[in-house]
Amino acid sequence: MTVPPVWAQLVYLVAAVCFILALKGLSSPKSARRGNLVGAAGAILATATVVITGNLDHLMGIGIALAIGVVIGAVGAYRVRMTQMPQVVALFNGVGGCAAAIVALVELDEIAQAGGASTFHLVATAFTIVIGSVSFTGSIVTFLKLQELMTTRPVTFAGYPILYGLALLSAVGFGVFLALFPTMVAGFALAVIGAGVGVLLVLPVGGADVPIVISLLNAFTGLSVAASGYVLENPLLLIAGTLVGAAGTLLTKLMATAMGRSLSNTLFGALKGGSTLGGGQASDRPVKSTGPADVAILLAYASRVIIVPGYGLAVAQAQHTLRQLVDLLTERGVKVDYAVHPVAGRMPGHMNVLLAEAQVPYDQLREADDIDSDFRNADVALVVGANDVVNPAAETSPGAPIYGMPILHAIQARQVVFLKRSMRPGFAGIENDLLYAPQTTLLFGDAKDSLTKVLAEVKTL
């Protein structure tokens, strides 16, 4: 690689600082948006610099590829519904990993032609290829799971641990081979093995845990980019990749903690067996179902109502209707709050994004720790499209996949009303005993339809 001029290297340094400031900004609500924009500015700076100073051929082709990528990425990002965001982040992460793996493969081609390179370089090249590939296919599988194009339940099969072990061993084996004999064949073999490892890594992860894995794969892509920075002798890539690798690893741990899961349980829990996963189908235990008029009366004459919103609310796009209902109840003198569980929705913080989109006032959004003790004074807990976050199994069944996750104690409210589409279990795939509790009634139907009906009934009271 040609060494860029000094000013270009300084611009790269500025870009690296932008990324640090971006991450810093993103960790506080006030500065988050500005932080993101600073990061984007750094990225634009760095991209412009490499185009200007890189002595590049094929500028036309690069321009076209760049434009196509930017348009696809930006349009995709604009079009995606907020409910689908986790899987889109997974997809973006996957293509990034793929890009890193390709860059390393191309570099390997150059090394092979030059007749070799230092061992460090070759090891870093092998690392980039394998981790980039893992991230690519792993992210694709998480996308398929979250988009429900495949089962969200953990997938394992007989011989899985052996296959997994063999895949890991051959990844290491081919990595060493590549470091000794840098050939393209070894590079492609390594990419294929990495791809296999990526699939095997994500298959046994259950639906509710998938977001943790997205974060982990995000850190993987970061590390792969960092290694490519060493291969290409570009400090910006090394710094940016390492930042993401380190921050992503910590974030993965924080997310797992917020969900009450350990990382090893997330990745390998399904393999240890003993998880008491339900069938994922509707149960036929008797429940009390009710109508919109009864729910309306219950709510309108209550003095304290706590709403537990979940992913079902977002899928039905019922945030706005819910807000109208809450406004109406508040006018009638009912005290209403939203209890937002950290992992309501599909990943930590997702529900805050969705409710903020519906312009729910901040002071009504209460964090789980803060409001949980209020349930025992609540007349009604209205659970809209949520399930796992109020499931007492998290405290009572040690074998359950959500065991240990902090839950909202809706069970302590005088009355519990579930708005649910069906008796299907939540994302974690386990039954919820709260549905069969004596104080619980269920209003079946799409959350938006149900809320519209309840809203109309409250207006007549």
């Binding site: 991450l23 984007a40 696809i72 890009a99 940016a240």
Partner: protein, 105 residues
């Protein structure tokens, strides 16, 4: 100092910075933070453009242009989707007031 050690030093320091800067994030921001970090590693675009610009054979060029496109998706899409998420966190006056008076609370 040998060259390799300098690179290793940068790596280790950057790792500490990465951990330190986000260590106090609240769970509300986990999703946007992940998405923002995801956008940042799209900077592999710089590497992809570099290798594409020095490609000497058609297969290599094709491969590296694919990398440029993919990296650009990661970078542009990542920052845009993060910004969309964070927009939601900013208190704003509704631009399209659907003829419904906003109740100030």
């Amino acid at each position: 100092m040998s060259e390799a050690i300098i690179w290793l030093t940068i790596f280790v320091l950057a790792a500490f910075v990465g951990v330190e800067v986000i260590s106090k994030v609240s769970s509300t921001l986990h999703t946007p933070l992940m998405s923002g970090a995801n956008a940042i590693h799209g900077i592999i675009l710089v590497g992809a453009i570099g290798v594409a610009g020095h490609a000497e054979s058609t297969p290599v060029l094709a491969l590296s242009l694919a990398a440029v496109g993919l990296a650009a998706i990661n970078l542009a899409g990542g920052f845009v989707v993060t910004d969309r998420m964070l927009q939601m966190f900013v208190r704003k006056k509704p631009v399209t007031d659907r003829a419904r008076p906003e109740v100030e609370r």
